[in-house]
Amino acid sequence: MSPDTNSAILRLQGVSKQYRDGPTALHSVDLDIRRGEIFALLGPNGAGKTTLISIVCGIVTASAGTILVDGHDAQADYKAARRRIGLVPQELATDAFETVLATVSFSRRLFGRAADPAYVERLLRDLSLWEKRSAKIKDLSGGMKRRVLIAKALAHEPELLFLDEPSAGVDVALRRDMWTLVRSLRDRGVTIILTTHYIEEAEEMADRVGVIARGRLLLVEDKAALMRKLGKRELDLTLVEPLGQVPVELAEWSPTLEHDGHVLRYVFNATDEHTGIPGFLRRVGDLGLHFKDLETAKSSLEDIFVDLVERER
């Protein structure tokens, strides 16, 4: 076996999905997930994130392509493939009348594992659910329900965990807890794939990031490299007197003039340690350029996606 196959716990080749009288949700996606990494799938609404995950988990049938989970074909050898996978779905779907303990134990057995009360207890304690083990799920708050779903997904000790928008409808504290949990899972060797709309979340969590839009995987990169690409910001100075051209003294920052010379724009990278803003503003002051307004803007995720998609063409 080549080291490459060894390290890929999940391999997608040419995976496409055309929904029945619906859109083409995925266009021939190729993707390798490395064992033990946290991978963030970043994309706007309707990009195909949930579709991709659902296909790997066996909930949606792919129109084309092959999927290998730890070397096992997800179609021909689906039992071996699925035993290795845990899924926390985007929608909160729970059995309202079951208790927390019963539903988590159920998930473990459903995936072919013998009951293990000690493991389930540890899991529920890790997720701060142990006190609520006898509560009916319908009596839990939304955040707790999400944690129950996480416990269910982990009940059979999967090697590969999918978190479909783990931070949707979750408050800051719980989000922190969840990130801590994700990291501790990774330390135990679990590979994690999460989807998100937020660059910040990908930045906080992931080792690698894949950007998906309109069913195409546009790029897959190490987080650091991507953040540099996506972390661009603009500083706009609205000038009192419009300029005809950029003064040579500012060449070092290579700003541009917008709106017929009324706006002086400096593009910088927010993730850099030295943004260059103080020096730029000092030089602007030295030159006696007066401005009446100052504004920084970040290109929105949507812009970035559109940008990427356009660039693909």
Binding site: Y19, R20, S54, C57, G58, I59, V60, T61, Y78, K79, A80, A81, R82, R83, I85, L87, P89, E91, A93, T94, D95, A96, F97, E98, A102, F106, S107, R109, L110, F111, G112, R113, A114, K152
Partner: protein, 253 residues
């Protein structure tokens, strides 16, 4: 074979039945008693005997099957329709379970409940009439066969249904009429022609008569053909459900 998985579904379904245990038990007991009061006592006092069997006893097999038909379809269809409706089906679909294993869990549990209900009706009937059983083992096997077949049928309905009202359509509009017209409360022998021949196209006639044979050792139609029809029905349902799972039709996008 994912035995843990089958067992998990079975226990989950049995727990669901357990939550409504009192209504589940009371309904068949009360319904059966009502039938006995109306048919057994009121009409039975006029009829006395059908084909040499006291009328009260004669209607018991039909009553048991009538309840089993509707309970099986209702319970098995709800069992799979509810997860579809609430969205929890994602977990079943993503589990390492083969179609047969999934069906064993759901249909096994529904069949167990149907059998229990059938036996409760059987016990209740003893309060009203003398009820000899000529072939007790065959009677139980027959009950099992019919319950399993209708639970499979219900399971298929649950998969195909797009709304709660659709779950009701088949039991109410097809099964109940066919049962009432299928000789549950009378012998098809007493029907005048052409109705007697028309009735023979109703598969429920064979189910009821086969079952009645296990009680009284006699039947309007051949026992062999009755068993054959029951078995064919079971196989047809099984094939249908397997195809649905293989193709993911109505289960997966």
């Amino acid at each position: 074979m994912n035995l843990h998985g089958i067992w998990a579904i079975y226990r989950f379904e049995m727990a669901r039945f357990g939550r409504t245990i009192w209504t589940s038990l009371a309904v068949p007991v009360i319904t059966t008693s009502l039938y006995f009061i109306v048919f057994g006592s009121a009409i039975g006092s006029q009829m006395r005997e059908v084909s040499g069997v006291p009328y009260g006893a004669f209607i018991v097999p039909g009553l048991m099957l009538l309840a089993i038909f509707s309970e099986s379809i209702l319970n098995a269809s709800l069992g799979i329709y509810m997860p579809k409706f609430t969205g929890t089906i994602y977990e079943i679909l993503s589990a390492p379970l083969s179609p047969i294993e999934t069906v064993l869990g759901y249909v096994g549990a529904a069949t167990t409940k149907s059998l229990l209900i059938g036996l409760i009706i059987f016990a209740t009937a003893h309060l009203f009439v003398d009820l000899p059983v000529a072939h007790p083992v065959l009677m139980l096997l027959y009950l099992l066969l019919v319950a399993a077949a209708f639970c499979l049928f219900g399971f298929a309905i649950g998969i195909l249904a797009n709304g709660f009202e659709q779950l009701q359509v088949v039991p109410l509009l097809i099964v109940t009429p066919l049962t009432f017209l299928g000789g549950a409360f009378y012998s098809v022998q007493i029907l005048p022609e052409p109705w007697r021949t028309v009735t023979l196209f109703n598969p429920v006639v064979y189910l009821i008569n086969g079952f009645r044979w296990t009680f009284f050792g006699q039947s309007d139609v051949g026992v062999g053909i009755s068993l054959g029809v029951s078995f064919a029905f079971l196989c047809a349902c099984l094939a249908f459900v397997t195809i649905i799972f293989r193709t993911g039709w109505r289960l997966k996008a």
